[in-house]
């Protein structure tokens, strides 16, 4: 079976990284799976550095139409990119027949607006990562019944620390500054309105007021425009958190997993301020590493993540709720909670679960 995934943005993280994980999951069972990105938004240099460019193509090097012509793909899955969808759905008469799928990952109103112009007759079907996303698609395309294709989480990189234990949490909670001097918090996402980075900075100031010694690391925003970067530093300055905040514009997954484990060991947490999500990959990865999460109470998170002391759901417009959740972290999470979450996520969102879900519509 030959599959091509195509997406506009080649960024480090988000949907781009998800496609690479799906590619690996399909390679593992002997399928040929190529990935095409129209733009390189920083991903190529990261893949080059890791000597992992394999069957990943960028628009600057190869035209999408050429790839389609030469690849002889049985299935082409296009993610939220109407121009690629159009190109994939109109094969020349001499080209092999292929099935074209639309995979919808965006959840914003603006992002979903292209669905109104999609020619459904040319599609084999629509895929989505969650039932929540399926509902968003149905609201715009009532005739469509999307197939839920769960995201893949990389359990080889994201796993809890072997040294994590109840006693480690107790050491943090005893405020023994000589052993663990500060609590680490992490926030992951692009620096845009959707991920609500400004709220993250406000909550960093709240956490600093609450715990005094904190380190708040924001991961992402490599492609953020210069004016956003300026706004970031200026707001951090106004809030008096310049010395507690750290902006890591892009990062290798191995280092990110280390950061989650450090957060967990320090009695800190991941903070999620997103207005909406289609799945919550970063949250899932943090939880896999044993890092508790204080998150905006999004419907999709109730679908993907089971109830657990590791997941504190709050209304992000209620600072008192956030404060309570942060203080609840002082009680720590048990090893059993960490293990139960890890087992649930690897079973529900491991490569095997994805392959099973992926094969079903393709062979139907």
């Amino acid at each position: 079976m030959k599959v091509l995934y195509a997406y506009r943005y080649g960024i480090v993280g988000g949907v781009s990284t998800q496609l690479l994980l799906r590619q690996q999951a399909l390679h593992d069972i002997g399928w040929l799976c190529d990935v095409f990105f129209s733009q390189d938004n920083g991903l190529k240099s990261v893949l080059n550095a890791a000597e992992n460019l394999g069957r990943i193509f960028f628009g600057a090097d190869v035209r999408f139409s050429t790839l389609l012509k030469r690849g002889g793909y049985d299935h082409v899955v296009v993610i939220d990119t109407p121009e690629l969808l159009l190109a994939a759905s109109q094969p020349r008469w001499w080209q092999a027949k292929r099935k074209v799928w639309l995979d919808v990952h965006t959840t914003t109103t603006t992002g979903l607006s292209y669905l109104g112009q999609v020619n459904l007759a040319s599609l084999a079907g629509v895929m989505v990562p969650t039932a929540y996303s399926a509902e968003l698609v149905r609201q715009r395309l009532p005739a469509v019944n999307p197939v839920v294709m769960p995201n893949v989480i990389d359990g080889r990189v994201f796993f809890p620390s072997e040294h994590a234990s109840d006693s480690a949490a107790a050491a943090v909670n005893s405020h023994d500054a000589s052993r663990l001097p500060l609590r680490e918090f992490v926030w992951v996402g692009k620096l845009d309105s959707h991920k609500n980075w400004r709220l993250a900075l406000v909550y960093a100031s709240l956490l600093q007021d609450l715990f005094t010694h904190i380190r708040f690391t924001l991961v992402g925003g490599y492609t953020a425009p210069a004016e956003v970067g300026q706004a970031f530093f200026s707001m951090a300055d106004q809030l008096g958190i310049l010395s507690s905040v750290r902006w890591v514009d892009r990062i290798d997954n191995t280092l990110l997993a280390d950061a989650y484990r450090r957060c967990a060991a320090s009695g800190g947490a991941m903070v999620v301020t997103s207005r909406d999500e289609s799945f919550g990959m970063a949250v899932a990865e943090a939880l896999m590493c044993g890092c508790p999460v204080i998150s905006n109470d999004l419907p999709v998170f109730r679908e993907v993540f089971p109830p657990s002391p590791m997941m504190q759901r709050v209304d992000i417009w209620q600072p008192e709720q956030f404060e309570q959740a942060a203080l609840a972290l002082v009680a720590g999470v048990s090893r059993d909670d960490v293990a139960a979450m890890y087992t649930h996520l690897t079973n529900a969102y491991g490569p095997r679960a994805f392959r099973q879900a992926f094969e079903q519509p393709l062979y139907t």
Partner: protein, 179 residues
């Protein structure tokens, strides 16, 4: 609600207003919005509608020129001298007259775009800065995570205060780049 919660709620709301303002600003300055704006000025259709044609052309030409000048000003890793990659010590000094390779292991540059291209292309062991800008500041924590030692020789007059304070805090908090 206590005073602390009230203060933070006010900050949250201010942040949200700022977020909406920035999003509106970005949309209004986009080429799609501006083209649409000019096109709408042609309505209702009449002889006066033809007046928008030169405005549309001017807008498109300016946009194209700006995109080209941005591209030509961009420095990618391919533009850098090969020696830049063999050097693990990188120095950014705007007062230099040119790019230099000093000794076997140090590459000095006065060109910010070249510096950024080098920092994004591969590992750097030591980065010495004589000035700091926003694009450099946003890369510092990443470099430290990758094991780079950042050395600051920046005077206040060469950089904006928040950027410098941020960089100083990073250097103070890091332990030779290992966190």
């Amino acid at each position: 609600m206590d005073n602390s919660a009230k203060t933070h709620l006010i900050r949250l709301l201010q942040a949200d207003v700022e977020s909406a303002r920035a999003e509106t600003e970005a949309m209004r300055s986009s080429i799609r919005y501006r083209l649409g704006d000019v096109l709408l000025q042609a309505l209702p259709l009449s002889f006066r509608s033809f007046r928008v044609i030169p405005r549309l052309l001017a807008l498109l030409l300016t946009h194209r020129r700006n995109v080209r000048s941005t591209r030509s000003a961009a420095v990618t890793a391919e533009h850098l001298p090969a020696g830049a990659f063999q050097c693990s010590d990188v120095v950014f000094k705007p007062t230099l007259s040119q790019w230099l390779i000093v000794g076997n292991n140090s590459w000095e540059t006065n060109n910010e775009a070249a510096l950024l291209a080098r920092l994004d292309a591969g590992p750097v062991k030591r980065l010495t800065l004589y000035a700091i800008t926003e694009p450099i500041a946003r890369r510092l924590a990443r470099l430290q995570w990758q094991g780079c030692v950042v050395v600051l020789h920046v005077s206040d007059k060469n950089s904006q205060a928040p950027l410098l304070r941020y960089a100083q805090a990073l250097c103070m908090n890091s332990n030779n780049g290992l966190v």
